[in-house]
């Protein structure tokens, strides 16, 4: 035994075990996020439980089984639950998502297995997704048009509900288009006129004629608005025409306007294929919809858009600087202390905590640079800041500094793999160093630059801490890109997937309801980042092979 230990074999196994544990953790983590994130969109079976409380009263509970856990009997008895004497040591407890938030105390309820007397899976239970208060579970009872009941059979009800829902949706889409499009433009223009007037006033050139001109312009816009407003109200009244009556789990009939319903489905009736289609439909909605109810429901489209936009902006800034610095370090830098300092600077830029960049970005970019820009270019908007408050441009700049070392290291590695003979050949043919660089080296290194860029993008997409200081918000009213001139609004705040996870997971009032959404968002973010990294690795490996061939 002693000899066996001395031989080192157990220690080799131990180090091997460390590798296994690392692998289990990595793969386990991906599986966990993937499973939790993807299963959220699967239409869960909705059960109808027949429950009995202490007094022996029967009670109906309709909902999805959300989670379950085993609890020791002892703990339950201590908590004051009686009648468990002849049960086993541990009992099962279910977390039921009952929805109907405005009619029940808790939309997530724990129920103990002993209280369940019966469990049914009725076919015609319907799940409604609503604009407010989350999901609603129940049975469709009837459909009202202008408050009058339509006489319909059960099958017709469903079909009518569907057609009327899509009609209402179409009206609501028109309404949103109008609000965001024309009316948004009018508000934007009105604000522009106000600022223009203020600017003229600041310049001391405000004459009666100018005032009249501005007043006339605003009046024209307001007239335009009145027409649109009428249209808007018309859409709204039309959308309010139909309502649906749903019987909930207590047998109460709840009337709700179809305008407050976003979608409905009957999960227990669905075949497997329908469920798969529904899954794709829900996933699609998740990536293309706006968030609702303080981000705890709906999609993440603005967050995706904000992340992508900010990262692209950052890529535009970081690439030239990173590439030039790498070319300097590899092609021009003499072997001296200065170069050594630069190398240490690169390593340190990579190692400085991201929050420090956030602090720097807030103080330097936002307050100093942004503040100066406001003084010089937007004095009419002061004291409300234009560039002097956190925004997407400052976020991109801050992250550009943060990811600079990634681009430098990757590009330099690419440069070092280009055989020296190529450079010598070019120089021997009479090309200057800059021509060699431009015509030979940079084109050959371009995949390496690409790798660096992809890695930088992946890093920036996952970074949250500095963004919390320099531009990210939980809910941005407008995207940084829209149809109003100058189309790109770099001073605007934006939403970000990573921050969305933090915000919804930790700052929202109903964490339980929001949790699946956070898993889904996490899965999306992880997929994008891991995908980008794998692409970068693939390009790099491909490149290595190519140059290995060149060397021989």
């Amino acid at each position: 035994m002693n000899k066996w230990f001395k031989s080192g074999t157990p220690w080799i196994w131990m180090t091997g075990g460390a590798v296994s544990i690392s692998l289990i953790m990595v793969v386990g983590l991906f599986l966990l996020i993937g499973w939790r994130g993807l299963s959220f969109f699967w239409p869960a079976t909705v059960y109808e439980f027949d429950m009995v409380d202490k007094q022996g009263n029967h009670m109906n509970v309709i909902g999805e089984i959300y989670d379950s856990e085993t609890v020791p009997k002892q703990q339950l008895i201590e908590a004051g639950i009686s009648g468990l004497e002849n049960k086993g040591d541990t009992l099962e407890r279910f977390l039921i998502k009952v929805g109907n938030r405005e009619y029940v105390d808790l939309d997530f309820q724990w129920i103990l297995e002993t209280t369940i007397k019966g469990k049914k899976i009725p076919d015609d239970i319907v799940v409604l997704e609503r604009t407010k208060n989350g999901n609603f579970y129940g049975y469709i009872k009837e459909i009202l048009e202008n408050g009058k009941t339509l006489t319909l059979s059960q099958d017709e009800l469903e079909i009518q509900f569907k057609t009327r829902l899509s009609m209402t949706q179409a009206l609501k889409d028109k309404e949103t288009d109008l609000l965001k499009g024309e009316i948004g433009r009018i508000n934007f223009d009105l604000e522009k006129i106000r600022l223009a007037k203020r600017k003229v006033n600041l310049d001391g050139e405000l004459s009666a004629q100018k005032i009249a001109q501005f007043a006339e312009q605003s009046q024209r816009l307001r007239d335009e608005y009145l027409v649109l407003e009428k249209q808007l109200f018309e859409y709204r009244t039309q959308a309010q025409r139909d309502s649906v009556v749903i019987t909930d789990m207590t047998g109460r009939d709840v009337t709700m306007p179809i305008a407050s319903v976003l979608d409905f489905y009957l999960p227990n009736k669905m075949t497997f294929i329908e469920k798969v289609l529904h899954w794709f439909h829900q996933t699609g909605k998740f990536v293309s919809d706006d968030p609702r109810e303080a981000n705890t429901e709906g999609g993440v489209f603005p967050a995706i858009f904000g992340t992508v936009f900010m990262v692209m902006l950052m890529a535009v800034i970081v690439t030239p600087f990173g590439v030039i610095a790498a070319i300097y370090l590899h092609e021009y830098a003499p072997k001296n202390t200065f170069t050594k300092f630069i190398r240490i600077a690169v390593i340190n830029l990579a190692g400085v905590p991201s929050i420090v960049y956030g602090v720097f970005g807030l103080g330097f970019f936002v307050y100093i640079v942004g503040g100066s820009i406001d003084q010089l270019l937007y004095p009419e908007a002061l004291p409300s800041p234009t560039f002097g408050s956190p925004g997407v441009l400052w976020s991109a700049l801050t992250l550009a500094i943060l990811t600079l070392p990634v681009v430098i290291v990757s590009t330099e590695e690419g440069l070092s793999r280009i055989p020296i003979s190529l450079r010598e050949g070019s120089l021997a043919l009479g090309a200057t160093k800059s021509e060699t660089l431009w015509r030979i080296i940079v084109p050959m290194a371009s995949p390496a630059i690409m790798t660096g860029l992809i890695l930088a993008v992946a890093r920036a997409a996952g970074e949250v801490a500095p963004l919390m200081l320099v531009g990210v918000v939980k809910m941005a009213p407008t995207l940084p890109v829209d149809g109003n001139f100058p189309y790109l609004h770099l001073e605007r705040k934006f939403m970000h997937l990573g921050f969305h996870i933090y915000d919804v997971g930790f700052q929202s009032p109903n964490v339980e309801a929001a949790r699946p959404l956070v898993y889904a968002t996490s899965f999306l973010l992880v997929t994008v980042i891991i995908g980008l990294n794998l692409t970068a690795i693939a390009i790099r490996n491909n490149l290595r092979e190519k140059y290995r061939a060149l060397e021989h």
């Binding site: 196994w13 091997g16 289990i24 703990q75 092609e331 990579a350 103080g363």
Partner: protein, 741 residues
């Protein structure tokens, strides 16, 4: 031909110039990296440095008054445009401090002819009182009205009388009031008076609003103070109406006046400095601290401290002004105060910072009257006929080396401590900005993370670099390295919302894992050696992790499912309660264990990747030589490979620590963010980085809090700078060493 050559030369010249331009362009581009780093360093320092800037006091404006006044009190408006003086003849006069009419008398009113005594409230209430020789008082208030005629600010002085211009009767017997003190708030007032025949009277004024008309009616109640000392030197009513301080030479009597039916002496103390006598006492803003000055120049601070369930006035710390202190003046909102002494020196102190900020001789005689401006950016000094406005630059008196890094005895606390509590609802709150608890939190988080990450990462790196077959290595290494790309916000989210409840519910299982996993590896190893040789040799070398995978998963699952029976058997079914009640260990759901695991997870790839590179690039000749001399693979590893690669492993650990120290999101999400100082693994912490992320968006630009947060960022920057630079230098040297081998 001629022109052809010259054309070509010109073209060449162009190319040369272009080449030069590119060279300079690229060189400056390269230098930009260094510039960026220096810019970050410089900017952080630029924001931080003002907190350590010395206090300066400069003469701004000066004028002479026509007559020499004996002054009771003086003051300024918020803009330092107008001053007022209350003199011993009983008049209140306003003088201009504006450039255009400096020294001009703006308003003068005789409040009371030949007053006997004078009293004033705390500076932010700015109300004053005169008493006469018939047991009456008058209460008045100098006020400043701001208006904007022609878009320019104009401040006009005004005098208001909260209780009307008539005299208020205090003593029903009509005796002269010799010593008086009072305090007044919106709905409550208190006047303490000592009559010539040495009776102590205490009048309470209560405001009631008439529901119908909205008028405010004051009602008064008179109480006689019990057990008064023979001689009353000074009297103070605390602005929170809880205490009345009566000084009789060197003794202090503290009356509890919070219950009007039961006014009694709480305590009697000697408050003089040894071998000296008390000259003055004054309350600091916030009503908690009493400053007592002595003839020998010592100023001592006293406040109530809870000890053995009793609140006692306790000596806290003292300051030294060198000479006989004649007067103490407190600032409006901060814990600063100034003293003037018999030699004409003026000194400014800050209690939390425990410092003398400045001492300056401003006069040749010792009879000075001084007032702070409301914004504490100026001082008004009256020295005989001369009135001087000093510009005072004292932005951040509360931040000193000692208040940042040493124990400070804050008001109301039982003892000196390290505390971080930067904001509160009220203005006169004493900010507690010690960087020690949050630096401790950072170190604690990094420590537990490294405790988790180091063994796994280094052992994993050793195996991957030295024992693993190349084909598996090409899959395993990128898999572990890709963990580094995982956004920390996701790790933080999982740690906070998935791992924390899991560990809370399954704590015995988690602890069991710590034992069962290594044990199961050893048992597997043993069983493997017992297998017939034929089977063992059929499996190629370097597959240990693959063999262990199913074993570890099974053991892990088994341990977790044992958690509940174990909990029932050992810990009465609730480990959390058991920990708290029986072992006395506090348990937070989001604790250091969670942070350790989550952040350990984030630093494993960093350490693993660098350490693996270092071990893998140990020259093969070394290992071959060792093996050829008869050493076993393990001996070669321990005695040759690890020894050679140890600087690389060290550098990996440094890089990992650097990352753990600066990580924000995981700590933010996986702990409760309470700034406690305790190594308990089941409690949380607040780290520098998380603290910045939480508080920075709310801090006011340019305030002390803002600058201290920048200082926290600067500390992080320096910390990681050192770690990374050392790691990089070690790595570079190692690379040179290998290349020479």
């Amino acid at each position: 031909m001629q022109s052809d050559v010259s054309n070509r030369l010109r073209a060449d010249q162009k190319r040369v110039i272009k080449d030069k331009l590119v060279k300079y362009g690229i060189t400056s581009g390269g230098a930009l990296v260094l510039v960026t780093l220096l810019l970050i360093f410089g900017y952080l320092l630029y924001v931080v440095l003002p907190i350590f800037a010395p206090v300066s006091l400069e003469v701004e404006k000066q004028f002479n008054q026509t007559t020499k006044q004996q002054i009771y009190a003086l003051g300024l408006d918020e803009q330092n445009d107008i001053s007022f003086q209350i003199d011993k003849q009983g008049t209140l006069s306003f003088y201009s401090l504006r450039e255009r009419d400096l020294g001009e008398l703006l308003l003068k009113k005789s409040i009371l002819n030949n007053p006997v005594a004078f009293a004033q409230t705390s500076p932010n209430h700015n109300t004053h009182l005169f008493s006469n020789d018939k047991g009456q008082v008058i209460i008045f208030k100098p006020e400043f009205e701001t208006s904007y005629p022609n878009d320019k600010r104009l401040i006009t002085p005004k005098i208001s009388f909260p209780f009307g211009e008539t005299l208020l009767d205090i003593d029903p017997q009509g005796q002269a009031i010799d010593t008086v003190s009072f305090e007044l708030s919106e709905e409550y007032g208190a006047i303490a008076a000592i009559t010539r025949d040495n009776r102590g009277l205490f009048m309470v004024l209560t405001a009631t609003e008439n529901m119908m008309t909205g008028d405010i009616v004051w009602e008064s109640e008179l109480i006689t103070l019990p057990s008064l000392p023979k001689k009353v030197s000074q009297m103070l009513v605390s602005p929170d109406f809880n205490n009345l301080f009566i000084r009789s030479d060197d003794s202090l009597l503290v009356y509890d006046i919070s219950e009007l039916d039961d006014i009694s002496i709480k305590s009697v103390l000697r408050i003089n400095s040894p071998n000296s006598h008390v000259t003055d006492m004054q309350l600091l803003t916030g009503a908690s601290s009493l400053m007592v000055s002595n003839q020998n120049g010592v100023i001592s601070q006293w406040f109530e401290v809870l000890k053995d369930n009793k609140r006692n006035f306790t000596f806290i710390r003292d300051f030294n002004a060198d000479n006989n202190v004649t007067d103490i003046v407190a600032e409006y909102f901060r814990k600063s105060f100034l003293t003037t002494d018999a030699e004409g020196y003026l000194s400014i102190f800050h209690t939390t910072g425990n410092t003398r900020l400045i001492t300056q001789k401003i006069s040749d005689n010792g009879n000075l009257s001084v007032a702070f401006s409301p914004r504490a950016n100026a001082l008004l000094v009256v020295d005989g006929k001369q009135v001087t406005l000093y510009k005072l630059d004292n932005e951040h008196p509360e931040i000193t080396w000692s208040s940042l890094w040493q124990k400070v005895w804050y008001e109301g606390y039982p003892e000196a401590n390290y505390l971080w509590q930067s904001t509160s609802a009220n203005d006169d709150f004493e900010a507690k900005m010690s960087l020690v608890p949050i630096s401790f939190g950072t170190i604690k988080a990094a420590f537990y993370a490294m405790l988790f990450a180091m063994p796994i990462a280094i052992a994993g790196a050793i195996y991957t670099a030295y024992f693993m077959s190349p084909s598996i290595r090409s899959y395993v290494k990128p898999t572990v390295e890709i963990m580094e790309a995982l956004p920390t916000v996701i790790l933080g989210f999982l740690a906070g919302l998935w791992l924390a409840p899991l560990i809370e519910n399954q704590l015995p299982g988690i602890i069991l894992l710590l034992i069962s996993l290594p044990l199961s590896i050893l048992i597997t190893a043993m069983l493997w050696t017992l297998l017939p040789k034929a089977i063992r040799q059929a499996v190629p070398e370097g597959l240990h992790p693959i063999i262990l995978l199913p074993v570890l998963i099974a053991v892990g699952y088994f341990s977790m499912s044992l958690s509940e029976p174990l909990e029932l058997w050992l810990f009465d079914g609730d480990t959390r309660m058991y920990l708290t009640n029986v072992l006395g260990i506090d348990f937070d759901q989001r604790n250091s264990l969670i942070v350790g695991i989550a952040m350990g997870f984030a630093v494993i790839p960093t350490i693993y990747s660098i350490a693996e590179d270092a071990i893998f690039s140990v020259p093969k000749s070394l290992t071959m030589g060792s093996l050829a001399l008869g050493a076993t693979p393990w001996q070669t590893l321990v005695k040759v490979v690890i020894l050679t690669a140890s600087p690389g492993i060290f550098s990996a650990v440094m890089m990992g620590t650097g990352r753990a120290v600066g990580e924000t999101m995981i700590v933010l999400m996986a702990t409760g963010n309470t700034p406690i100082m305790d190594w308990n693994i089941f409690e949380g912490m607040r780290s520098l980085s998380a603290n910045i992320a939480v508080e920075m968006p709310e801090s006011e630009v340019g305030s002390s809090h803002y600058r201290v947060l920048f200082l926290a960022a600067f500390v992080l920057f320096i910390f990681t700078f050192m770690f990374n630079t050392v790691a990089e230098l070690v790595r570079q040297r190692l690379r040179e060493k290998y290349s020479s081998l």
